[in-house]
Amino acid sequence: MTTAVVELWTEPPLIRYLAQSSARFVVVMTPAGQVLAQHGFARAVDLMGVAALGAAIMASSGALADLMGEATFGALFHAGQRHGIHLAVCRTPRGPLVILTVFGRETSIGLVGFFFDEFAAALHAAAPADRERGPILAEDFEAELGQSLASLFGR
């Protein structure tokens, strides 16, 4: 079981949701596919790839809904032999977040969907408003960047 959280306010609802739904793991990400938090048995999974593809599925389904004059298609569910995935958007004061839930046969899409509603409400309540932030990096970052990229390319 691993937990990685970028935005701390997501952690308590996330842990509760995973426990309630008996899912294998949950990824909270931005619509651009950047992982804000993940919790569960995800060590064997290519998390970055999962997030990029999950966000892409949500984005394309949203665009498709738009083309068809629907506000949204709501949650998406894919069933596999061993795993199912539940993908849905949760609206928060921090902007929309995409939630990917991977679950096994020990639970059901019904339970995941039911507890997701609670999770989405908890996330919405916990999210602080977006705030401006100051400079992140030192101004002289470029020398380090040059060295990093040079080592990346074996130069």
Binding site: M1, L18, A19, S22, R24, F41, R82, F114
Partner: protein
């Protein structure tokens, strides 16, 4: 001599360095021929002292012999050689749990499941440990460790669970006569706790064998499921579950905090009558539990 033992022995005789010694020892262990199994596995480990499968098998044999310290040592050696060996991880989790270190067991079993996510045995074992700790997920375990379990849960991981069930069944036979005077007091009425451990009474299978531990482990999960259902559907506290099944009717009821009662009656008995029996059993169990707390 059964065919599989004969075949494996022949292979091993032809090539004493063969790794088939593990399979042979495992077959012997499952047949209950523990001393012979120990000889075979020790013979193999003399030649292959760092063979993780062999060490894992040695752990299982010691566990079956109820020699937990040696079992733990064997699994520890296996993990020193192969830190992600699923069998050894499960074994170590089992050993730690039985020794009362539920937190240690939790960590090891979570690792086992990460290594082998499809391993139902590991998952069940993990569930048992989590229930014992009062946590539903592998959230950093905040609940205080409970006292060392008196009886091994039937869902203990991997092969040692067979021995565990046996041990639990032996223990059940010596349990206090809480339901004396009720029909089926030791074969159809079972009191167990929410960790799946038998407290009193007993349950026999169709062949007369004691299945108390197995039933307790399986039914313990029903309690939390019922609690969750009642909570989310705003039904208040749940009082009884009645299951009418092909061969028997089951009545399940919570008895005070953390204990559950199961009454089984044959399919032909009217459910109303089975409920009456359950009420009497419930009263007996409540009174007995209250006396234990005095």
């Amino acid at each position: 001599m059964p065919e599989d033992i004969r075949a494996l022995s022949t292979v091993l005789a032809a090539d004493p360095a063969s790794l088939v010694y593990v399979d042979l020892a495992e077959v012997l262990r499952r047949r209950g021929d523990l001393e012979q199994a120990l000889r075979v596995v020790n013979g193999g480990l003399t030649r292959h002292p760092e063979h993780a499968d062999g060490l894992d098998c040695l752990g299982r044999i010691h566990a079956s012999r109820d020699d937990l310290p040696r079992a733990r040592e064997a699994w520890g050696r296996a993990l020193a050689v192969a830190p992600d060996h699923p069998g050894a991880l499960k074994g170590m989790g089992f050993a730690l749990f039985r020794e009362g270190d539920a937190h240690g067991a939790l960590a090891v079993l979570e690792r086992a499941l990460e290594v082998a996510p499809a391993d139902d045995g590991a998952r069940r074992a993990l569930d048992t440990v989590r229930r014992a700790l009062g946590v539903e997920s592998a959230v950093p375990a905040l609940a205080p460790a409970r006292p060392q379990p008196a009886v091994v849960p039937a869902t203990a991981p991997c092969a040692p669970s067979v021995a565990a069930v046996g041990a639990a069944a032996d223990a059940a036979a010596e349990l206090p006569p809480v339901f004396r005077g009720l029909e089926g007091a030791t074969a159809d009425i079972l009191l167990f706790d929410d960790r799946g451990l038998v407290v009193a009474g007993g349950l026999n299978g169709a062949d007369g064998a004691d299945v108390s531990a197995l039933a307790a482990a399986g039914l313990a999960g029903v309690s939390s499921e019922a609690e969750r259902t009642a909570q989310y559907l705003a039904l208040g506290a749940w009082t009884t579950i009645v299951a009418e099944a092909d061969r028997a009717n089951l009545v399940l009821a919570p008895v005070g905090p953390g204990a559950l009662l199961l009454v089984r009656r044959e399919r032909g008995m009217p459910v109303g009558l089975a409920l009456r029996v359950a009420e009497r059993a419930h009263a007996a169990a409540s009174a007995w539990l209250a006396r234990q707390g005095e």
